[in-house]
């Protein structure tokens, strides 16, 4: 009898073996003229002050800094699942912009979903399905 391979699809479990940060790229866009970009672009501001440190702490993320004239300043996070998350940082100060950058870094890119059950498992149940014919004998 010929032996055939089992059809099996590998299940992704990021973090079980190695952990890969889901955020792969972050783009920082600002406007050179508009006032809402002040937190981003001025001296003692985010781009000069906080961004180098942030980039050094997260070498896995590709960081792009580009002017985007006549538009509000944004941070765009691109993720491994192909999705993008854009956060507007207009009018924010350095610390607030850094918080938004950290939020994007810590996210997985998945759409926000309301979770009712905490444990999400791909494994079969350990103790098996209930059977009324097996187990503790009910004494009447």
């Amino acid at each position: 009898m010929p032996v055939s391979a089992l059809q099996a699809v590998s299940k992704s479990r990021n973090g079980v073996g190695a952990f890969i940060l889901q955020c792969k790229r972050m783009e920082f866009n600002f406007c050179d003229w508009a006032g809402s970009s002040k937190g981003m672009r001025h001296d003692r501001s985010f781009l000069k002050h906080s961004l180098p440190q942030f980039a050094k702490e997260n070498p896995q993320i590709e960081i792009i800094v580009a002017p985007r004239p006549n538009k509000i300043p944004i941070i765009r996070g691109v993720y491994i699942n192909g999705r993008e998350k854009v956060i507007a940082v207009d009018g924010l100060e350095i610390q607030q912009i850094l918080q938004k950058a950290q939020l994007l870094r810590d996210s997985s890119g998945a759409k926000l979903k309301r979770i009712t059950k905490p444990v999400i498992s791909l494994n079969e149940s350990v103790r098996g399905m209930f059977s009324p014919f097996h187990g503790e004998k009910h004494v009447i």
Binding site: K11, R13, N14, G15, V16, G17, F19, L21, Q22, L103, R105, D106, S107, S108, A110, L112, K113, R114, I115, P118, V119, I120, S121, L122, N123, E124, V126, R127, G128, S131, F133, H134, G135, E136, K137, V139
Partner: protein, 218 residues
Amino acid sequence: MLLLRTTQRSVLRPQVIQIYSFLKSTSSTTPRFSIPILSRTIVTSPHLRISSIPAETPTPISPPSEAPPTVQSDPAPTAHNSLSLLTALNAQPSKYIMVKIQGFTFLVTTGDKVVLPFLLKDVRVGDTLRLTHATTLGSRDYTMKGNPYIDERLFECRATIIEETAEPLRKKEKKKRRTRRTKTVKSKHRYSVLIIKELVINDVPPALATAAGSSTPR
């Protein structure tokens, strides 16, 4: 003598007989190292004889309060018994653990994603945590219950923080009758997501095993 070689994968599921090999001690004696383990032995056919219990009729389960007298009178065999049960638990292919994280209990196996209903402080995404508070450790036929927790030297359960997300923004409108004023309350709770990396049951060192056998009254 427990029958552990009788796990035969037949179409008809084998009859399961409950046996309590419970080392749970009374309040008077507290052993330094306890292995409270419960086993559900399996027989392939009803004709197979088991030396400890009658083969045909399963014995009614004795309540746990009757267990301590057997422990105090004959400590060494029961310690050995529970050690062999622990080895049997370890030998089974899949195991589960009920861990407590900040008071919340989660029943997990290896590879499960746990969305905590809160944000873990002082940790970063990518960190590995060792979960130490476990109430129950079990497999298909064996269960070990802690009192209230299992000794953390017996197992290693590690989890990685993979994400810090939030729920979608939800708004609650609050309005009283015959009043036009409406108050809106916004909620967007933040959550940490863990994934269980490993669940390993450690071998009990022989020194601790003998200590478990000779329970010293405190």
